[in-house]
């Protein structure tokens, strides 16, 4: 297990260097150089421009600039925002918990709802429930979630007035950020009703962001369960006289979970992409919202650093999925 762990970790280093290389190249494709972009339409004298370019190292050969960039990244220095002048790293850390909170809630929602639905559909294969669920699942996977979110707001927030339209908590509360997770921070605050407010702000974004993962989890659980339910050991378990519930949940589901775990891990990309859209719609102050704003402000250091951090996160999560896979299925450790 330890060697498997080491080898998997060693493999991510070249990927990480590749990702930094790509984020370096992409930003250098921006028309005009960063200094000119920073001064924008106000313009700048050519001498001053040359001076600033030299100070920023932009007159050095590209490979030197790349090495310098790698060095910065290795020291957790991702530059600073052109608009706020805060370090990119620090801004990311402030906003990141909001995205994690939303994503975790969305994936939990997808698992809690999707897993039982998939199991029931597999057990009742060919029933109207099965067909209905599979129809809904392919619809969910085809959902333009930016529209879905707006429809939810239109129906539940504007029409029925059940949930708030945007943000993480009502303006009536000031919650000192401690963990950065609004639900937890609100729980430990003394304000009555803060938890309820935070929770009601979470409901719609969670459902919207969780829709595609939910569809995928339900579908994958069903097909994986169908495969396992046809195996000999299930027949043996039934023949031993075990209860149907025990056969399905203890024997079948446990074995069916491996592909489901992989699929849940693969949802991280979908979640991070979806978070950009969901956060934009619900004005959720997270990383996705921040990245879209950086584009509108032409804040390239934020865009570059933020993209790099999100990609790094995806690498780490993929590693986590691989390791979980190794724990669940000892055969692939070798």
């Amino acid at each position: 297990m330890f060697r498997f762990l080491l080898r998997r970790i060693a493999l991510i280093i070249p990927t990480f260097i590749g990702v930094t290389f790509l984020s370096f190249v992409l930003i250098h494709l921006v028309p005009g150089d960063p200094i000119e972009v920073r001064f924008g339409e106000r313009g700048i004298k050519p001498e001053r421009l040359a001076e600033l370019r030299h100070a920023a190292g932009l007159d050095r050969p590209l490979w030197e600039q790349f090495l310098a960039y790698e060095n910065q990244v290795a020291h957790f220095n991702l530059g600073e925002s052109v608009t706020t002048h805060n370090p990119v790293w620090q801004e990311f850390l402030t906003l990141f918990p909001a995205t994690v909170e939303l994503s975790l809630c969305a994936i939990l929602f997808a698992i809690i709802v999707g897993l039982p639905l998939g199991v029931i559909a597999a057990v009742k294969r060919g029933s109207p429930f099965d067909y209905g669920l599979m129809g809904l699942s392919v619809t969910g996977a085809s959902m333009p979630i930016f529209w879905w979110g707006l429809m939810m707001i239109l129906i539940f927030s504007v029409g029925l007035g059940w949930t708030p339209v945007s943000g993480r908590i009502s303006d009536a509360f000031y919650i000192e950020p401690w963990t950065g997770f609004m639900l937890i921070d609100a729980w430990f605050s003394d304000d009555a009703g803060a938890v309820q407010s935070a929770f009601s702000h979470l409901i719609l974004p969670t459902i919207v962001l969780g829709t595609i993962p939910l569809a995928t989890v339900a579908r994958m659980t069903r097909s994986s369960m169908l495969e396992v339910l046809g195996e000999d050991f299930i027949r043996t378990a039934r023949a031993k006289g075990l209860s149907g519930f025990r056969v399905v949940v203890i024997h079948a589901l446990r074995n069916a979970l491996i592909p489901v775990v992989t699929v849940i891990g693969l949802q991280v990309g979908t979640l991070l992409g979806g978070a950009i859209l969901t956060e934009t719609i619900f004005s959720w102050p997270g990383v996705g919202h921040w990245l879209i704003e950086s584009i509108q402000r032409r804040d390239y250091p934020v865009l570059q650093g933020g993209t790099l951090l999100v990609a790094t996160l995806a690498i780490v999560v993929n590693l986590g999925v691989d390791l979980t896979y190794g724990v669940l299925n000892p055969r692939i450790r070798r």
């Binding site: 619809t139 429809m151 707001i153 239109l154 934009t280 990245l291």
Partner: protein, 296 residues
């Protein structure tokens, strides 16, 4: 694979066999029907659309759909904030979406196939470099990468299509490479090679035709994600620019007043959903019919 008909027992043609297995999947047939309908409506947009998609009717701002109070039969699905007919915009939007899907798939499928075959045949350093690059592209959440590419190239429909095509590229490259590698060890390739066929001929005349099934399936499913991603970019203001009647761009334009006018929000979204759903259903059916190995 032409079936011989001069044997005693009539052998059904390949196409008929394919259709029989495709039609088993009712969802796929529904998907195909919707696709065909969309294609006809979009191709004949000049005839089927009651108005021009950009004509502004100054007396009809935010007119509700014809069946609700205040609606008129002149505007079936109502009008938007500057008096443009939503139905007409949706029809022209369908044309645009199909063009987007087609261009993106053609671009990523074409480039991906060439790259995949090249890596499979070249092996060594070329293989390693290209495939590692694809792995790196796959690390990024696809929508994020597309957003970054458009942010750099500048927002426009063409750039959005290029971005979506680049994001889809690794899937096609990996698929083409994997199928080419499994075909290359077959006897017919060895035979062809020993008969003196050039590498290019081997790649495109011998191996490629036998790798098409998974690529076609991926392309049909890629069509729907291309439409979805392009609409998402349009919604974020990074794709087609107003007044282009692109569905995602229409939704972005509706953001300021959708709470007062549900129809400006509902219909473009339903159009995206139905189109993407149709292509997904069709793609699933195609996969089951063409590639039984992948059947789930």
């Amino acid at each position: 694979m032409s079936a011989s008909t001069d044997t005693a027992v009539a052998v059904p043609s390949a196409l008929r066999l394919f259709w029989r297995s495709f039609a088993e999947n009712r969802g796929a047939v529904v998907g195909l029907a919707i696709m065909l309908l969309l294609i006809v409506v979009a191709a004949l947009a000049d005839v089927t659309a009651p108005h021009s998609p950009i004509e502004q009717f100054r007396d009809h701002f935010l007119t509700p759909p014809s069946w609700s109070p205040g609606g008129t039969s002149a505007f079936l699905l109502g009008t938007d904030d500057v008096g443009r007919d939503i139905f007409a915009r949706l029809i022209y939007g369908a044309r645009l979406s199909l063009v987007i899907g087609l261009s993106v798939v053609a671009l990523s499928l074409g480039a991906g196939t060439v790259l995949g075959l090249t890596t499979a045949f070249a092996g060594g350093i070329v293989d390693t470099v290209i495939m590692r690059l694809m792995d790196i592209l796959l690390v990024f959440p696809s929508l994020l990468l597309a957003i970054v590419i458009v942010a750099i190239l500048g927002p426009s429909l063409t750039n959005a299509m290029i971005a979506v095509a680049i994001v889809a590229l690794p899937n096609y490259t990996r698929l083409a490479r994997a199928s080419a590698l499994s075909e290359m060890s077959r006897d017919y390739v060895t035979a062809s090679r020993s008969a003196g066929a050039s590498t290019l001929r081997l790649m495109f005349s011998a191996v490629l035709p036998n790798c098409t099934a998974p690529l076609i399936v991926q392309a049909s499913l890629g069509f729907s994600s291309a439409i979805l991603d392009a609409a998402a970019l349009g919604f974020l203001g990074l794709g087609a620019q107003p007044p282009t009647p692109e569905w995602g761009t229409m939704l972005a334009g509706a953001l300021q007043y959708y709470q007062r006018a549900w129809w400006v929000l509902t219909f473009p979204g339903v159009s995206i959903l139905v189109t993407v759903l149709a292509f997904n259903l069709f793609g699933d059916g195609l996969r089951d019919a063409l590639d039984p190995k992948l059947k789930r």
